[in-house]
Amino acid sequence: MSQHLSSREVSQWMIGERTPQQEQHVRQCPECGAELARMEAALALFRGSVRHWSSRQVRIPRPLAPTRGSRGYPARPLPLRWALVAAALLVLAAVPIYRNVQDRQRQAEIARADALLLEQVDAEVSRAVPRPMEPLVKLVSWDFSATDGSDENRRDTTRNEEIR
């Protein structure tokens, strides 16, 4: 091969497509050798400049946020996760129990207050005369047998008879 490499052949050479004749020619031809060297140098410069630029610009991030429960990349160690789940379940179970106890206490208090009120009402209703008039009853003869059959009234009647 006596002719120099064409532009097409130089590009093909750079891709790696070359014949033994071309290789032999390049070994013997300073012009073609220089052309190939110039091309290789320009591409090496380009590679170097891209790498230099990217190494200055690159910021390797901290580990990207993993997907929870993803295969091979657990978000937390397994025992810790189970402990958290158990704690959450305990809290969820304890809330209704606590509320139930509070409700029962409140109902018991209401029932106690109701009973006290009823006792007071009963006591007031069962009196024959209002409490402030009770001393007068002791002085006046009074027959309650026809009107009221309560024990207290009966006691008052007996006491009046004795006075008489």
Partner: protein, 183 residues
């Protein structure tokens, strides 16, 4: 082969390891494609999240890297389509970033003349790569920035090996033409 597949599967299961091993490469490819560090960071993050979420579908038919690159290629393509609507923003960002990156030349004790020529060539490749159609640019960057071979590029892009060669050849022709004009 089985060991490699198992290793890849366990690698994908561990997001920390996945990020640590492959972030730089995905970010670099996104940066070279989009020329916007913020956009490249977003694409890289989306890429790893997508990879992690769809890890059940990874059957180890290709390397983890090729799989990640395939996701990144799709994300960059989608991003590029959306970004066409924001023409002015893109134009502004590209101008700024290219100015910063296209001027870089390693300190090798070269003469001022050869340094100037190197910068000129570098700018020509940057410009040519930026003007390539989407597929040609993707293939070009995977080959000449990420050092992937044709089969790996085929796996990452979903193209056949022959198609990868055609795109790569056209990309190189465009770059050579640009370099020739810049001299």
């Amino acid at each position: 082969m089985i060991a490699a597949v198992e290793r890849s599967a366990s690698e994908i299961d561990d997001l920390d390891t996945l990020v640590r091993l492959h972030w730089l490469r995905v970010f670099r490819f996104a940066l070279a494609s989009l020329r916007d560090p913020d956009a490249a960071g977003s694409v890289a993050q989306d890429c790893f999240l997508r990879a992690y979420r769809s890890r059940e579908r990874f059957r180890g038919e290709c390397s983890t890297e090729a799989w990640l690159m395939r996701i990144a290629v799709n994300l960059i393509r989608d991003y590029g389509r959306n970004r066409r609507l924001q023409f002015w923003k893109r134009a502004q960002a590209s101008a700024i970033d290219l100015g910063a990156a296209g001027q870089w030349v390693p300190d090798g004790g070269a003469s001022p003349e050869s340094g100037a020529i190197a910068k000129q060539q570098l700018a020509a490749v940057w410009n040519a790569a930026g003007g390539l159609p989407e597929r040609q640019r993707t293939v070009f960057l995977l080959r000449f920035v990420e050092d992937m071979d044709l089969l790996e590029i085929a796996a990452a892009t979903g193209m056949k090996e022959g198609t990868v060669k055609v795109h790569l050849f056209r990309a190189l022709q465009a770059v050579r033409e640009r370099m020739g004009r810049s001299q």
